[in-house]
């Protein structure tokens, strides 16, 4: 007990100093921190504690790829592929291509024809999967019944594969869109097979985030159908400004993916109306030139997500590869649209399945409330320990101080976020941290009452309490670990604080207290136990 090794002492002092050093930048006023950052080399930039979205304000949005939308697109593509094969092989079918819940079916009466096209149809699988010819479940089922019916069905595996790929592509597109908002450190992550979590801290206008996340932004240039055209070649599409529908040709002349740039601007000729200026790549410019040359005087519709933004008349051929979209936009709408066009279209529709947005004002209020609770809670515990254990209470309180420093240092070093429940977790561990001290002190008292000398009591108290401290903390730690793995967001923050608190209590409440009491005993040489 008295022989407390010097290196252990040094180790504990060093750890404490290191913890204080790690935590210090987070405790500084932001202005001071910036000043410090300026003076230090870049590689030495001190990390600060990361505040959760509930504390610094911001948006957490979980998006889910619309599987029904993906299936619809898949079936549509499948139908076109089948039609192409039939055309290429000059195979006649009876009754057209029929629809099934997850694919298409067709009846080929002639068995020779059937034999000819079946291998071709089976090859369509390759277009479905990145793993061509590899193992795993086939993404496309091709069935043949004896009476000449061929059924092509998108399998679950095929749908999952497509969904995964859609998520990958969407993450890229979303990153470009969110970056364009100019926020600091957005986080965009895949979650499971079909979800994406977008977290953007410190947003002033969370609505804008949802606006730019929720849109597919598929831009198409299509001609407005004229009287006398085959009605099967066109469809009625809603107009953006709500003035009814327009008949639009189904054939897409130029697509949004051929855009290289889009910027918001103002049309001086129309009294400074906000517009979006765009520029095509070479292929797009060529195609756009061709179409506008051939169709002078016709209406050319600009279609975004199946809504007609505007349908201006083609006055002269446009061959320069750039153009302008006007649609009675507000400045904000023009700005958002250009962000969307620059970032590109999403491969599928995304739905918002969960949203948690906290305004900056509420976040600051929560920080203040958390701080107040932590100060008051710590203050009460400190005073209580002091009046119960006297000088031993001072040791416990010193250990408690280091314990809190360790938790914060742990949070900074792990880069884990501090949330409001996390603060609650820390306040709770303040109450629990002294439990180890209490266990030890009560044990020491007991041993002393049983007639042992002071030294023997101290020794026995620490030795006997240790097993109990370990056992009781392991159970608490298990609960925290499970919370971490199953929880999300703020609750996870709570689990981390709690787990860190439990780990550090072993060092602070046990080893540190032991050290302090050893030193105290050495110098004070007490004749009776002060507790």
């Amino acid at each position: 007990m008295l022989r407390f090794s010097t290196w252990k002492f040094i180790a504990i002092v060093c750890m404490t100093l290191a913890a204080i050093l790690v935590v210090a930048p987070s405790m500084m006023a932001p202005a001071h921190y910036e000043a410090l950052k300026q003076r230090l080399p870049a590689w030495l930039t001190p990390p600060t504690i990361v505040l959760g979205l509930d504390l610094q304000g911001g948006s957490h949005v979980m998006l889910e790829v619309d599987k029904a939308d993906i299936l619809t697109t898949q079936v549509k593509n499948l139908r076109e592929d089948v039609r192409r094969i039939l055309r290429e092989e000059k195979v006649a079918i009876t009754g057209g291509i029929g629809a099934t819940p997850r694919g298409v079916q067709l009846r080929v009466a002639d068995s020779a024809d059937r034999e000819r096209i079946l291998p071709k149809l089976r090859l369509l699988r390759n277009g479905f999967s990145a793993r061509t010819g590899g193992g795993g479940d086939s993404p496309l089922d091709v069935e043949e019944t004896p009476d000449g019916l061929i059924r092509l069905t998108v399998t679950d595996a095929g749908l999952v594969e497509k969904t995964r790929r859609a998520v990958d592509q969407s993450i890229e597109v979303i990153r470009r869109r969110v970056d364009a908002l100019g926020t600091r450190e957005p986080s965009i992550q895949r979650e499971g097979d079909d979800r994406i979590i977008v977290q953007v801290p410190g947003l002033q206008d969370p609505e804008q985030l949802k606006t730019i996340l929720g849109q597919t932004a598929k831009l198409e240039f299509r001609l407005v159908a004229e009287a006398g055209q085959n009605p099967a070649d066109s469809e009625e599409l809603e107009q953006q400004d709500g003035t009814g529908k327009l008949p639009i040709e189904k054939q897409v002349m130029v697509q949004g993916e051929d855009l290289t740039d889009a910027q918001p601007g103002f049309d001086q000729q129309r009294g400074g109306e906000p517009v979006v200026n765009f520029r095509f790549n070479i292929r797009g410019a060529q195609r756009f030139g061709e179409v506008t040359s051939k169709n002078v005087d016709r209406l050319f519709a600009i279609v975004l997500d199946n809504k007609v933004i505007s349908a201006p008349r083609i006055l002269t051929p446009i061959t320069g590869g750039s153009g302008q979209i006007s649609g009675r936009f507000t400045v904000e709408e023009a700005n958002n649209l250009s962000i969307l066009l620059r970032a590109g279209a999403l491969p599928a529709k995304l739905n918002i399945v969960e949203e948690r947005t906290v305004g900056p004002g509420l976040g600051q209020d929560s920080i203040d409330a958390g701080k107040r609770a932590a100060y008051v809670g710590a203050g009460l515990v400190v005073v209580y320990m002091l009046i119960t254990y006297g000088v031993f209470g001072v040791f416990a309180n010193l250990a408690l101080f280091v314990h809190i420093a360790f938790i914060f240092a742990g949070l900074v070093l792990l880069g884990s976020t501090l949330t409001l429940p996390g603060i609650a977790g820390i306040v709770l561990t303040i109450g629990m941290a002294v439990d180890s001290n209490v266990l030890i002190y009560e044990r020491i008292r007991e041993e002393n009452h049983a007639g042992r000398t002071i030294l023997a009591s101290l020794d026995a108290g620490f030795k006997r309490a240790f097993a109990t401290i370990v056992d009781s903390n392991v159970t608490m730690f298990v609960a925290a670990a499970i919370l971490y793995f199953l929880g999300t967001g703020p609750v996870r923050g709570f689990a981390v604080s709690l787990a860190l608190g439990i780990l550090t209590t072993i060092i602070t409440a046990y080893t540190m207290t032991q050290m302090m009491i050893a030193i105290w005993y050495h110098y004070a040489r007490p004749t009776r136990l002060p507790i």
């Binding site: 969960e354 009460l380 119960t388 306040v427 109450g431 266990l439 007991e446 009452h449 609960a479």
Partner: protein, 350 residues
């Protein structure tokens, strides 16, 4: 300096005697908790029920709760719950899942924003769709079940099986009563509440382990003591610590309730209840369970039984264990144990 002592010194409460009161009492409370859960139900927050919460702050003056309540009717949101709290300018709206899947939830928020956006700041918006809420229910339940299994295995590994079973029964008891607490107070039950429940599970086990640890230690030390007596002695020994720790944790929690703000208040209130219940159950539920589960301080029980036969004074503490029906010894045993009473009167070894 005169130091404060909350727990009296050297107590000798016969805790094991109370089990005839505490068991029916706890069983009744548990039944009430289950009945409350079934018939009254929980006030599930949007995490589990799905739906939308919007926290508003009036830009000028105070929030008009009546007007906000009217939104449910005007915007076709179904049942809408409007609550004011703390600052009179603040109010929260809560409404359930809108028919029409995930898209409909966002549309509903949009309608509210358009309607009140001019007069109020939307300080917090939380929307949880139907599928996400189902998943949160699953992971929450899984978490509670897993933690109990994990801790059961740890205790089994570290202690005798009776200890593990006793601890788990005590923990289940705490869990039921906490659920009952949420039901009767109608505090909102959300993912933070699951965190509260798991923390209570952790704390309850922490308490239980401290008591069990001492029982195990004393079991080896005082082989000559009756089981009930030995358990009583152990609980009395750790009682000062139990009271001390419960008090410090309570102090921290009271600070959280008073100053921690709206969001974590239900968490803190539940924790306070949980600490109370956990302390009770570690003493009155888990420890007596050891006797029912057949934990025996073999020699001690025999000694106590024989001493009781020999004893002139039936009021001695030692006699207590022997009068217990669970502790009955076959008459043949007393003959062999007769040599030992002299030792058992002085159980402390050097």
């Amino acid at each position: 300096m005169k130091l404060l002592r909350l727990a009296p010194e050297n107590t000798k409460f016969p805790f094991m005697r109370f089990r005839r009161v505490s068991y029916p009492f706890s069983a009744l409370l548990s039944l009430i908790a289950v009945a409350l859960f079934i018939f009254k139900g929980m006030n599930f927050g949007i995490d589990f029920a799905g739906g939308t919460v919007i926290e508003l702050r009036a830009k000028n003056g105070s929030a008009e709760v009546g007007v906000l309540r009217g939104l449910g009717e005007g915007l076709k949101l179904g049942d809408i719950e409007v609550q004011g709290f703390g600052n009179p300018a603040d109010a929260t709206l809560r409404f359930g899942l809108q028919p029409g899947g995930d898209v409909a939830q966002q549309a509903a928020v949009e309608r509210v924003r358009e309607k009140v956006g001019n007069d109020y700041d939307l300080r917090r918006v939380e929307v949880v769709g139907p599928r996400v809420s189902n998943e949160l229910v699953q992971s929450g339940t899984l978490g509670v079940v897993l933690s109990i299994i994990a801790v059961l295995s740890y205790l089994w590994f570290r202690f005798e099986w009776q200890f593990a079973v006793g601890a788990v029964i005590a923990t289940m008891h705490d869990l039921l009563l906490t659920v009952g607490f949420f039901s009767i107070t109608q505090l909102e039950f959300n993912t933070t509440s699951i965190a509260a429940i798991l923390t209570i599970v952790g704390y309850s086990l922490n308490e239980t382990v401290v008591v069990l640890d001492r029982i195990r230690e004393n079991m080896r030390k005082y082989k000559k003591l009756g089981t009930a007596q030995m358990i009583d002695m152990s609980i009395n020994a750790v009682l000062p610590r139990t009271i001390m720790t419960a008090t410090t944790v309570m102090l921290a929690l009271i600070a959280l309730v008073a100053f921690g703000g709206q969001v974590i208040r239900s968490f803190s209130l539940a924790m306070i209840w949980g600490i109370f219940v956990a302390t009770y159950s570690s003493i009155f539920i888990c420890s007596p369970m050891l006797i029912y589960l057949g934990l025996r301080n073999e020699e001690g029980d025999k000694a106590a039984a024989s001493q009781d036969l020999a004893s002139k004074d039936p009021q001695t503490r030692d006699g207590q264990a022997a009068r217990d029906p669970d502790q009955k010894e076959p008459p043949t045993a007393s003959a062999s144990a007769k040599k030992k009473p002299a030792q058992s009167r002085k159980p402390r070894q050097a």
